[in-house]
């Protein structure tokens, strides 16, 4: 009797553990999707801030641009890890996992372009800033075209 109770308790415990594990994995996948959405929002906010500075013209606030470019550069290093196998979401195209090298390459391009903008801002060599910011924007758009389903 006791052994049956024990066995049953063990079974219940195992089921609970399994359910928790599955739930945790699901939560983790949800987590990573949320994290990458937050990261892209952070990039958007940084590019918006940079855009507002450059669009205003005149003497550019180089320190502000360097700060925001650093955010994008840092974010770029985290992108690939936030798209683990199986972490599908509504606008993430399967190409992300089918062409991982190409995807990684775009993240690298973003890092490089953001770093160039940051360095130019620190060296006070921004010019009107448009070409350098445009290079960052081109990597955003190029990667979205290849790997993000258009908004419907």
């Amino acid at each position: 009797m006791r052994s049956i109770v024990n066995r049953r308790a063990g079974f219940v415990a195992a089921c609970t553990a399994l359910a928790l594990a599955v739930g945790a994995a699901g939560a983790l996948a949800q987590d990573v999707v949320q994290q990458r959405k937050d990261l892209m929002k952070s990039n958007g906010a940084a590019m918006r801030a940079i855009g507002d500075v450059v669009k205003a013209g005149g003497t550019l606030d180089a320190a502000a641009i360097a700060d925001k470019a650093a955010v994008v550069r840092h974010n770029a290093t985290k992108i690939v890890a936030l798209f683990p196998a199986g972490s599908t979401s509504e606008r993430a195209l399967p190409a992300i996992w089918e062409k991982p090298d190409e995807f990684k390459d775009w993240a690298m391009k973003l890092e490089t372009a953001a770093a160039a903008l940051e360095q130019a801002a620190k060296d006070n060599k921004l010019g009107d800033g448009k070409a350098l910011v445009g290079a960052v924007g081109a990597t955003c758009g190029g990667c979205h075209k290849a790997f993000q389903k258009p908004a419907s």
């Binding site: 906010a45 855009g51 924007g137 081109a138 190029g142 075209k145 389903k149 258009p150 419907s152």
Partner: protein, 267 residues
């Protein structure tokens, strides 16, 4: 009539390169991973698959054997050198608004790009769309040929913008909704549509956007929207290949024109 207009000034390849960026030729005529302008891109539409032709100067598989007048006729009338009527997948419906001098300059530029031998097969269309003669009737219904006519009530900047948007830029080919036969609905010009090829994604309206002129100019130059998001989808290439290579004055003219349109959205 074409020979006379094309002969006004000596065609200039440098100016032609600029016209090339105004006209967005590379977006369709260079295939993903393919040689520059050598064609082969497949446009999948409800009517079938269109295979985009080679426009390098290769005499056999490209347009090396064409005269400037041939290109003018193709772009302004939608008629090939052998007299065939093009499918409107080739946006002559917009290019017809172009100045013939611009097209002659464009031809001078196209003659300078590397010739690539690439025999692109015929379009793969289902019946009845496979019958090319149908294009003749389609044109009677939906094609109004003729160059852009400036509006004297508007200033030069607005008119330049209107020319770029409605002529070479052929923005309406994606941003204007189409009827069931693929004709553009000019009453709802630029009011947003469904992409005519590929995944049929939504194309937004350009009318009544709450953007400043600077916001437009910025988006055309960097591909970044006012909220910091990036233009993706087919617009990513439009930015890098075309609008980012225009002068600031032209980007501004486009912005001024678009901002003057009354708000309208197809949705």
């Amino acid at each position: 009539m074409f020979a006379s207009t094309a002969a006004v000034a000596a065609p200039d390849p440098a100016r032609g390169e600029y016209v090339f960026h105004m006209s967005g030729c590379a977006s369709c005529h260079t295939a993903e991973g393919g040689a520059f302008l050598a064609g082969g891109r497949r446009l999948t539409t409800p009517f079938g698959d269109f295979l985009v032709p080679n426009i390098t100067p290769d005499p056999d598989t490209g347009i090396g054997g064409w005269s400037a007048a041939d290109l003018v006729r193709a772009m302004a009338e939608g008629v090939s050198p052998s007299g065939g009527h093009y499918y409107p997948s080739f946006p002559y419906t917009s290019y017809t608004r172009m100045r013939h001098e611009d097209i002659a300059d464009l031809k001078a530029y196209l003659d300078t790009v590397p010739a690539v031998r690439n025999d692109v097969g015929p379009h793969e269309l289902g019946f009845p769309f496979s019958v090319r003669l149908g294009n003749f009737f389609w044109k009677l219904l939906f094609f109004s040929p003729g160059p852009f006519v400036a509006d004297p009530a508007r200033d030069a900047e607005w008119n330049r913008g209107a020319y770029l948007v409605n002529g070479p830029g052929h923005c309406g080919e994606c941003h204007t909704p189409r009827n069931i036969l693929g004709g553009l609905d000019h009453d709802r010009a630029l009011a947003g549509a469904t992409l005519p090829e590929g995944d049929g994604g939504k194309v937004p309206s350009l009318r009544g956007l709450d953007w400043s002129v600077e916001d437009f100019v910025w988006a055309f130059e960097t591909g970044l929207l006012p909220d910091g998001d990036a233009l993706g989808s087919s617009m990513a290439d439009v930015i890098t290949e075309n609008t980012s290579k225009l002068t600031d004055a032209d980007r501004r003219a486009i912005a001024v024109y678009l901002k003057s349109l009354s708000a309208l959205s197809t949705d």
